[in-house]
Amino acid sequence: MKKKLFAGLLTVALAVGMLTGCGNSGSDDKKSGSDKKMSFEIVSKGFQSTYWQAVYKGAKAKADELGVEINMVGPNTESDVADQVQMLNSAINAQPPAIGLAALDTDACLDGIQSAMDANIPIIGFDSGVPDAPEGAVYANAATDNYAAGKVAAEGMYKGIKDKIGNGKVRIGEVNQDATSESITQRGLGFIDKMVELLKADGYKVCVVGNDFYVGKAKGADAKEADADVIIEVAVPAETTTSACQQVAEPVLQKSDTIAIFGSNQVSAEGIVNANETLKVCGPDKIVAVGFDSGSVLKAAVTDQTLFGAVTQAPVSIGENLVQLLYDVSNGKDVKDVDTGCQWYNYQNITDEEIAQNLYD
């Protein structure tokens, strides 16, 4: 137990900034000496946004319900791949019955994943999970299907722009924070593919321009830019900061043919909202802007209709399902992937209980 506590503390030390998650794990430890409470290690992708706090909330609630403990850690930012690898190794050293993992970079985590397999510690993926993990390592995932979530955003947006298409060439913008992370790219592509599908079904010619990665992967947009009815323009900033997202959003918002824009995560959606502070081009009867995730800025923007709507994942549900899967797998039950779902919200339903519990500040 002592060793475990030590490893736990070590993990805490490594996870600078991750304070709330570990604060209370120590106090429960007294009981566990006699009781042997089950304790799971959870390595998340970060703690930088309130999103992860909501995941923790769900996980903690479920853990209390099941009478188990969790120790959740995550690196400072989503680019601290090496930190996360370190945290994963510490988690494995703690020899928990199962590990929850949201990998930043599967390749970098491979060694850790292998040693977890060698030690017969099952891994449950959550959030973006562990894409392309070696066979048999990941038993199940509790995750948003990001591709599907992107589609939800496209469907939501399409309701708002349907009437604006057809009178000459129009443009739909998309701001993606990067072109590397699995969750963002899936979301971005889900949006593009669904939008193309919807547009083509209504008989429009579509073309995708901008970032090469997204242009290359998009399906079905076969028209040339010159004779397309609708252009989907994908902008990716040089850095993953709000300011950089804002920088690439501004030119798109200022184009005269732009009718809609989508920001595929909290940071890029905030970039759009903030750009609009001066540009004043989004809102009812203006550019239809759609965001993703929540946070106080986005919530305010949805409420005042700057944003036509947004898609929220269900972080609380991710947390709950994760712990349930961890619990099940360590009790020898068969487990399978759980889509934790996502929801479209706008100024009308933002206060509904079902939605509000997944929105964070």
Binding site: L19, S49, T241, T242, P251, T278, G295
Partner: protein
């Protein structure tokens, strides 16, 4: 020699910088008509403020022959700390702003102490505080993003410090603060002992020491100035953008240091002006704002900014060769 005397007086590098600035403005305006809009100017200013404060501050350690790498992560850290107290602890906004600046001063003192007293290489010392402030920022904000008061929220008034809304029109009054900072720090650099000694230390630290100048004190002063302005940059950043996320800021310092170097601050110290720095800042923010308007993909933007920096550093090297010859 005499026909060039006006150019010589202003400084060749500043003339070149100003020329490049105008060329860039013309180029972007021709390439994309929307760039000429007032709103673009507004957002250009949004990026200019925080880079400008950082760069004005970091000019001083650079002039002593040092460097301050902690300003980027620092400004995020200070803005997080102040913002956390305001948003989650209910402190008044003015106090949060004050905390941000004071925090910057404390980190500046620490840097100065490490460099001047402990004699650590500035690069190393401030690289350490760069990491420290990055971690501290996360701790201060409890790991969560901090949305400084926005829109109609109580306390959102401080955003008006930089972007005043009169009727439906936004006025970028942050320019006033930047101009004020440039004027004050130019006077400090050119007309006070602090400035003179900072330049002397950067030009020839040994000679300065042998003149009986308190080298330790003025080196520390330079880093404190840098920290103070990083604090102001934190405020400018908080006022211009939405939620501040912990872990950001790494790399911001390069915008500032790059701007100073483009503006003619010598990488070896001892030579440079605040007005030059601010011209460099404008080039930096103009590139950052303008390049997306000509539909250039992100990676190419970085390459172009890198090339501009190399050219600036080369000009610096050529000049310092001439001085030491």
């Amino acid at each position: 020699m005499n026909n060039n005397s006006i150019i010589k007086k202003i400084g060749m590098q500043k003339v070149i910088t100003l020329g490049i600035l105008l060329l860039l403005l013309i180029f972007f305006s021709l390439a994309n008509p929307t760039f000429r809009k007032y709103t673009t100017f507004l957002s250009l200013m949004g990026y200019t403020y925080y880079i400008a404060f950082m760069a004005i501050g970091v000019t001083f350690p650079l002039l002593t022959g040092g460097v301050d790498l902690s300003v980027g992560t620092g400004l995020i850290c200070y803005a997080l700390a102040g913002g956390y107290l305001v948003v989650y602890k209910g402190w008044p906004v003015w106090l949060g702003l004050l905390i941000a600046v004071l925090f910057g001063v404390v980190i500046g003192l620490f840097n100065g102490f490490a460099v001047a007293v402990l004699d650590l290489p500035p690069f190393l010392a401030t690289l350490c505080t760069c990491m420290i402030t990055r971690g501290l920022g996360s701790i201060c904000s409890n790991g969560t993003g901090v949305p400084w008061p926005n829109g109609s929220a109580e306390g959102a008034w401080f955003r008006n410090l930089f972007r005043l809304k009169v009727g439906g029109v936004s006025i970028p009054i942050g320019i006033i603060w930047v101009v004020l900072a440039v004027v004050i720090m130019s006077i400090v650099l050119n007309h006070t002992r602090t400035g003179r000694y900072v330049l002397s230390i950067g030009s020839n630290k040994e000679a300065a020491k042998l003149c009986g100048i308190n080298v330790v004190r003025y080196q520390i002063t330079a880093y404190v100035i840098s920290g103070f302005f990083a604090g102001l940059a934190g405020i400018a950043f908080a006022a211009s953008f939405a939620t501040i996320q912990p872990g950001l800021g790494a790399g911001f310092e390069l915008d500032a240091i790059g701007a100073a170097i483009i503006g003619g601050v010598s990488t070896a110290g001892g030579y440079g002006t605040v007005t030059g720095t601010i011209l460099g800042v404008l080039i930096m923010s103009l590139l950052k704002t303008g390049l997306p308007y000509i539909d250039l993909q992100a990676n190419w933007q970085q390459i172009i900014i890198g090339i501009v920096l190399i050219v600036a550093v080369m000009i610096d090297i050529i000049r310092s060769r001439r001085v030491s010859a």
